[in-house]
Amino acid sequence: MTDETAKDYDAEMHEPTHFFTKYIWSQDHKVIAVQYSITAMAIGLVALVLSWLMRLQLGFPGVFDFIDQEAYYQYVTMHGMIMVIYLLTAFFLGGFGNYLIPLMVGARDMVFPYLNMLSYWVYLLAVLVLVASFFVTGGPTGAGWTLYPPQSILPGTPGYDGGIILMLVSLIIFIVAFTMGGLNYVTTILQARARGMTLMRMPLSVWGIFVATFMGLLAFPALFVSGVMLLLDRVIGTSFFMPEIVSLGEPLAYGGGSPLLFQHLFWFFGHPEVYIVALPAFGIVSDLLSVHARKAIFGYRMMVWALLAIGVLSFIVWAHHMYVSGMDPAFGYFFAVTTLIIAVPTAIKVYNWTLTLWKADIHLTIPMMFAIAFILTFVFGGLTGLFLGNVVVDVPLSDTYFVVAHFHMVMGVAPILVVFGAIYHWYPKITGRMLHEGMGKVHFWVTFLGTYAIYFPMHYLGFVGVPRRYYDYEDIEFIPDSVADLNMAITIAALVVGAAQLMFIYNLVWSLIWGKKADSNPWKANSLEWQTPDTPPKHGNWGVEMPTVYRWAYDFSVPGAAEDYMPQNMPPQPFEAHRAAHPEEGPEEDKPGEDKPEEGGT
């Protein structure tokens, strides 16, 4: 590089020097990613505390008298909404999406950094509006996270005064923020990849985030529109979702609307949303497994096609959330079929993860433990999905704790395990330090076993017929006394698991200062983000010279290579050229007698 180009580089990079432009009003995707992650974690902590309060009421009914019925419903609602939208969606797409996409595809930044910055600040606004609803008269809405009208906007539901309005406004703001970020992610992946980076060489993390973001851009509009219409119903008295209705003995001015329409719109968003959370997790876990098992991901192409197939199918399964809503039963048949079909690509992914581990050189690092825990949990949650996807089985199980157990396993615990694994995996790149391993192990075992202690018994509760979203179960005849004991046990487990998350956050802060220094590629991984000249990567990511990609991200343990990994930007090696010219010789592992082949190495 001549001085001239280096000077051009500096001029073109506009590296900010002031503290505010560097860390606060930053347009750098890495800083924005950290901002997104910290905000999501902070609001996630609120949701964690809410779940504790819920569990305290269920485990020890009547002991904590500040938890009344209204407060309980508000906890349920806010816990659900925060976890699904403001934590998981924001963390996977805003956090990991922002950090990983430009680094993994070999770009300097997102294509429109300013828009990216706006995306974060608008997201923060959405979170603040949501938090504000805790402080208005009547508190936050207690309508359940699905916000079904008519009850969500009528007096009698907690948070009727201001809570529901702020909730809807916050959702609308969130969608605006997501759209600004999402357009950036998709365009960056499609149009700003490095030289040599074809779509089929991208790590599966990027694929998962890409498909999920695209789905978000098509699914969030339904939530946007239903949010606007519900807001109009509540604030100016239109009747989009409101039928003729008598409330508190008085006939209301509403009439002629369709409550079922809201459910359709909500779930047209809500079901893809499940996969908006799950697909990035699928992608990231594929990379974690491959790196820590030192083996290529099994069936890369099939993994990509399965992601796309799940993405498409997830738009035509939404009404399986509505089997008992009173919609035309013939619909149920169609949606049951599509729901069961979606199990096919999902099963392909599970088989491929498992086969990646087959005969692999498994390193039981903390990210790997989380990744394996994810497979188990996801399979477990997925199997109960087969029960709930069938209309006749779903009807008796609907609105029981079986459903709670199912969706917490499959879209709560499973993705969050991946979030943890991914943080342990990429923390060294983000901060330049390793997370403390002892604390990490405790965190893993408590979280993994603890979540089973919480959700496993809930399946039994569901079969006994315990309905969900009830404040307490006293004097309900069909519920046996043993349910109370089980509930107490679940509560204790939940408190312990929650405490482990606090320790995890402590670990994040502790390791930032006292953690072991990490080298630039501590896991010996292949994808581009580990090949940056600096760790943590500097503004512009790559220094003066942009990376060139020669291979996919999964060249692990290649026979003949000098080491057991070959980074994506490693040029073709002599032994590879030799092998391409002499395919009849076959790979070295077929010739056990020979020692290291002479063409091997660099």
Binding site: V186, Q191, R195, L217, F220, P221, T238, G256, F268
Partner: protein, 231 residues
């Protein structure tokens, strides 16, 4: 080394069939859409997302029109104007639609002039487009005022179902917002065109990107017109 990866790394050698070309483009590195700028591809993706918003709005409208028990008002009567003692059904909306579709024509001409490098004509045609848009919004404001005077509100409607007012104000309002944003967008870009910003940069693609947005807003209107006024 170049920061903007606008140029593809390798030119595809011989002319090949469209299908194969699509496949080679998507199998290639750097960009899936060759020679398409970041702004243009982002606009396309945004418009796809926006299509789902309008699609959902219209689906909602059709659903409540079916669920309401009160008869739906006859649009030919509600949207009629009395000019010189003669009641003309849908006359205003016909003019509005005509104006908006004409504006798509001037927009297309502006894009053409931009690529020919004719700074002045491109800018003026864009301003004409913006003026058409502005007159569309003004007529819509007039129509809103007329309906409000006649007592139509989002929550009530003297001609029939409540949902008529609610969906009308919501959907035309949301579309009108898009047109208004488009008018501002067109004006800003037109001024920059006339000032020669893009001539110096040698790239008039922004005119086409603005055009994409404008044609989309037009296309949406065609659907709103068909579903709201003709049904």
């Amino acid at each position: 080394m170049a920061r903007n990866n606008h140029t593809p790394s390798e030119k595809t050698p011989a002319p090949i069939g469209r299908h194969e070309e699509l496949l080679t483009d998507w199998a290639s590195d750097r960009e899936a859409f060759k020679n398409v700028s970041w702004g243009k591809s982002m606009m396309w993706i945004f418009l796809l997302s926006d299509t789902f918003i309008f699609g959902t709005f219209l689906t909602g409208y059709m659903t409540v029109r079916m669920t309401t028990t009160v008869p739906w008002p006859n649009p030919s009567e509600v949207f009629a104007l009395t000019i010189g003692g003669v009641e003309l059904p849908l006359v205003l909306i016909a003019i509005m639609t005509f104006i908006l579709i004409s504006s798509s024509g001037t927009m297309a001409m502006a894009v053409n002039m931009g690529y020919r490098g004719d700074r002045k004509k491109a800018g003026i045609l864009m301003l004409v487009t913006a003026l058409f848009g502005l007159s569309f919004v003004s007529m819509q404001a007039f129509e809103w005022t007329k309906l409000i005077h006649e007592g139509v509100r989002p929550w009530e409607n003297p001609f029939g179902a409540h949902q008529f007012g609610a969906t009308f104000f919501m959907i035309t309002g949301f579309h009108g917002l898009h047109v208004s944003v488009g008018v501002i967008y067109l004006t800003v870009v037109a001024i920059k065109v006339l000032k020669g910003d893009y001539e110096r940069r040698g790239d008039y693609q922004i005119v086409e990107i603005t055009g994409l947005y404008w044609h989309f807003v037009d296309l949406v209107w065609v659907f709103i017109f068909a579903f709201f006024y003709l049904w």
